[in-house]
Symmetry: D3
Subunit: 308 residues, 6 copies
């Protein structure tokens, strides 16, 4: 390709890519002059929280009676600063108008909200301690609590969920969703931060788990990899858009176990103490203490190597 | 272990690992003196493309009428340089002979091909805008297009697919496959770059989705996590190797919805407007407007805690 | 929120988070003064091993007759140092008492064990060469061995497994589990390092695969994405904790193929040469040369757009 | 040292270091909640300016007729953002009171000032082109202008000076001083940003050069390493503090050459066209076209090796 | 150059470079298996100390009554760990024998010494506060103490000196010298850590200052750039090696000012209150309250441009 | 400043900065499509060379009889690749025409030259061992050779000089100068790579030393900080440009010592065994075994504090 032709083709493409008509739906103008949430900083936020919750596992905390308080003080201080900043970025991401009065209000609210979140850390730790214990008891292969905390993807995903859920309760936009997608990418476990999950929750292996936004899960529930708590079809409004806020995901009561690959759809209830076998398709209510398994597969023997 | 014994054992192992007989099948001699494709640089390539396609989301682009064109110009220029380099590395990866005439030809073709790819970016953006819209409309939990672009793994995977597919059409080796594996690792969604996918495509949650290389997908299709569009057994040649290029994956027509965990295998057709329920196993043609669901699981109630 | 109130609330939270009662179950005191295993260093260990096993793919090795031995010598030397350090960190992670006699013994054993592991690298390479060949032959879409080594998540997961399995045989705590979780996060494939896997093993696509700790897999086995080799319920001891060490995962004999999403639970045997179809739920022995498929789904045609 | 004693001694030291009486003179409370100037970002600012002024030398600018404007546009845009931020940090460093009205005014002024600085870049480039030419002509060892721009510490120091001087004229605190100290550290050349320096200025080698804050230097001046343009004693006020703003450094007229190590102190004038020899001590006016050299050293011959 | 010839020449060079005879004087075998002092970690040590001494200038310390103690506690804890490690590396650098009893003793002493050093930080801060004040009062161009702390190379060099001097008093090998060379490289100021320097010390500009190892400097001394406090010739022992430990550098009494470029050599005394002019060569005692200046240079006027 | 005005002013500045008339003298078009020499890579080159020459000091070399050869082999191999690349970049920096035949020739020559340089490393090591010994013997404060190698700026500067000098002898453009400027920035010692320097060379402290391009230095010479071996005026050609290549710097014969701050200018000879005192100005030949010192400064005593 001659030099001039190359330059012309590239220039034409730049023109086309710079034409507002082609990008105005999918471009992001940084609102109020504030930056986008930073993926790197949100990772740091989550890592700090993990170190605060499980001291000594994910940071450099040197735990001795004299030093623990210093480390907690510093981590909490740094967390407040970093989290306020990201909360603000999340607010500006969704905010429509652009004036400097608003930005001052946003800043104050971001700091306030970050402080509220921090006040909830002791309660989040209490719940996660219970989740770690439940996970340990549910897995004969686990050697000790330390291994569960340090290695298990289920704990990582539940940690992100409990953090994101609290941030969502504090009405922070975008950041909660991002934090759960972070765990989704790392573990394959996709828990919507709006879902409600009880205590002593175990996810084993976890890849492919989906827990939809209006799901409700009781206490002492255990689910395996590939389990979906999803929605069936959903009603559309007059413009053909889905109506928001309809309860469309399952309610899973206490003490339920769901084996790998089960797909449970719609606002149905899986009754207390039930066991749902793997790979089933469930779209109706299941009474308490039920045992549901896939109907028996067809089995034939064959002599040739022709496969399936 | 005494020092000398240690040295001897290590030395013996180094000998063994350096014996060409043990590695010559699985070593890579950098052909024509050019380096391997660089994983870090390919990540940068994909990130640049994402910023060009969705300006303002993944970079520092400061979008104002006066500046957009400058940013697009610079990004396109940098992309051309980096992509040419990686395309060349991909070519040399597969190239068998080693002479300097070839390398000059390769270099020219790499630059030409990178320019052709760049010319296709406006069209790729057009398609992705439609995919984003479809995803938004299909998910009641989505708050706005920005959240879909910034957080949704489905959009990330489809972006990598549309980029990799175009690179494959331009006959670039290795790089397309690597770009789709990059999305696979991040999202759990594995779309072969050779697959053909229509417009307004939605993948929800996505972990575990597999779309094989000869699949054809129509417009307005939505698939959920864990769906496989795969091959059954495939014929072998006389040496026992699989015959390449046989059409062995499904055709999914327009307006089909496939729920989580469905496994659809072989060169069959899922007819227009059909709905495939979760966890089914489908190996035969499905007529248009069909509804397929797993046969009802066995349900029993139990009083004891013996599980499944 | 007034400044003073803010300070008070934060201080109170720091108090609470520093209360040993709230964290003493889930904190990690660095035992014997040695650091935690380092995630970054373990990544480097695995990458070095990959470069030693497949020279020229994952590093800067410049392979020429005169240089290969130098590179192998240096890589092995660096690997020994880094791996000794991480093995020591793993030992201290689980060690309960804290005295300096112990630490010297641990150090000696860590170096010894790292050397033993290195002596096994030629054998690990031999097995992985066979796995790469099997994967190539099993996938019509693969263009050459290089693409399989460089891009395929199955090979990455099997490599980590074979490395972790050997480390576990050498009785190193924590590190093997961490190395398999590393592959789990990157590929969605979760192979417990204690599982026993034969030669010529293929995992295709792989996301969602789970292979439990007491599984036994023969030679020439191929499994697809989403396959679970798991446990059913397991017996508890008097304190309600699961009894460790019970054989509770399947035995898969030679030449078996298992399609995507199959869930196979309990200490059952899948007989030689069987083919297990996708999405089935199997909890009983399967005789050799069986073909198991899900019972046919219900199919209806519909005219309205009401979905499932 | 027993554990407890260690803890006590460390704790006591922490107490002492945390006692406000010991640090309140030398601590920095981040005023108005804004961060300190960032050393890393100021380095980036200076590097960006260098790339804008000398395109193609210090960055990735790919200079072609079609692309230069894009690169300049992007660099200027990025520079404006980064520089505004650092100017603001500099303002807050010196600002005494702490209220949010002020911070908004500061922000606006920082952006305005950054824009004014950018408007001066073409003029700064014009002057530096002349400095580069003068340096090239003055050094027989220089091979070409490119070498002078890329390698010569004199050009680096003069660039930082011309940038810092303009920022000081725009009344920005702290940042100009920091930028000249950056060059001082890299080159050993210490030019106060308040000094006034004419055109076609050459500093050769440069280590140890000091040019004080009220110095005035004409056109076509050349100075060598180790030259000081400094102050003698200076008057103190009633509190014993030096009186600020007194003219206390030399005036060097056009076409003067000053050889290495000359020390020139006080508000004296070195007349047009003079040559000052090395290592002299000058504290009085020098008429135009003078030639000043050190009085001849004492020379003896010696036979023994006793040295000096 | 043909391939084979190239390989042969390179191989031959590798042989030669690997011949112990050629490197055994200048190679470093890591003694006792411990690593070399790490340049990167020593930089971090010095930066931490600077942040502890001048809180809020060089780190992220967020200074509020509630948080200062936490930050000091954490910084001191981290400093103790890092410094112990580097002290140990310094000990092993000089240690000749290689047995594991020794290493345990070294470790204990390294930790002890690091704690002793930390106990001296309050006193080091007290002295540096005085140095900062003296520097501020001595420079009419300084705007405030903050600028002096943040920007002035003299303060940076004196800080490193006071730290290194204390470490040397604690008999730590190598590290003190390295810390002063770090300041030397950054500022051009070379103060031997063994020199003794009083209070209220000012170095202005500083490039080229050398203060030799047996120098003694009183209180309220000010020296300018390029000043040497050095040794003349020194006696050799019978093997022709310099005899260590002889007092061979100047004593500078209180309230002395030394202007730029003065060279003062040998164990002489510069009497209290003296002023030494620039560029002089002083090798004999100077009585108190002397004023020493270079003899007047020769001055001629010239009409031609022939230079010097 | 209103938004629109801001945009207009910035745009106008971008126009001006993009006007080729303003930058065409000082811009660098990457010739032949090859990149500029990379500052980061040249640092790595020099560091590799330092580790090869002084094994165990600046890298991770684990020196044991079995491993030294492997490390040397790998370092030499990596050095060859990196250095070839930078040599090529240096060639293209100065090359005027732009065609692809040339680039192939350049590449071949760059590889050849890098190999030649590597062949000289044993000889460079031999010379540096002698320099280290001389430096050690000349400094009573040095504790051992290790400290000299690890800490002394003189050795760092001489190492860069000996490397750069050899590269210049091999007629490589730009790179030698850059390598000496690297040492200049780090140590304040500016040795032109074209200077000729004998064996057993010592530079003590070194800040401010300048050794011009046509200087010749004999064996066993020692120079202190601030010494200049420079040029006086130099003849201009008809266009007023300095005539290149004239011998204009001093010849310093064997066994000479030059104290700090001496300025020695022009093509004069400092005779064998002479001692030049500090701060002298020497522009004429000095016979062998001379002792030159500054004439005695004027000394007065004063009672008032009026300074100088």
């Amino acid at each position: 390709m001659p030099r001039q032709e190359f330059e012309d083709r590239i220039s034409k493409t730049v023109e086309s890519l710079s034409d507002p008509k082609t990008y105005n739906v999918v471009c992001h103008e940084h609102r109020l002059g504030e930056p986008l949430p930073s993926i790197a900083k949100l990772r740091k936020v989550v890592n700090m929280i993990r170190e605060i919750l499980f001291p000594g596992y994910f940071g450099n905390t040197s735990l001795r009676p004299n030093t623990t308080r210093h480390y907690m003080g510093v981590y909490v201080d740094e967390l407040h600063e970093l989290l306020s900043e990201e909360i603000l970025a999340g607010m500006c991401f969704e905010c429509q108008d652009d004036n400097s009065v608003k930005i001052d209000k946003h800043k104050a609210r971001a700091k306030e909200t970050a402080a509220c979140f921090i006040e909830n850390l002791p309660e989040i730790r209490r719940k996660l301690v219970a989740d770690v214990n439940a996970t340990f008891i549910n897995d004969p292969a686990a050697r000790n609590l330390g291994e569960v905390i340090f290695c298990y993807p289920g704990i990582r995903a539940i940690t992100n969920y409990r953090v994101a859920h609290k941030l969502l309760e504090l009405e922070i936009p975008l950041i909660p969703r991002f934090i759960s997608e972070m765990a989704h990418s790392e573990t394959g476990i996709d828990i919507h931060p709006r879902a409600k999950i009880g205590e002593n929750f175990t996810i084993d292996h976890g890849t492919g788990v989906v827990i939809g936004s209006t799901s409700i899960i009781g206490n002492n529930v255990k689910i395996y990899q590939g389990v979906t708590l999803g929605a069936k079809s959903f009603p559309l409004d007059d413009e053909g858009k889905p109506i928001k806020g309809i309860l469309r995901h399952p309610v899973v009561e206490d003490n339920v176990v769901i084996y790998s690959g089960a797909t449970i759809l719609g606002r149905i209830t899986i009754g207390e103490g039930s066991v749902i076998g793997g790979n089933v398709w469930v779209t109706r209510n299941i009474p308490p203490k039920s045992r549901i398994v896939q109907s028996r597969p067809k089995s034939t023997t064959f002599a040739d190597g022709s496969g399936i």
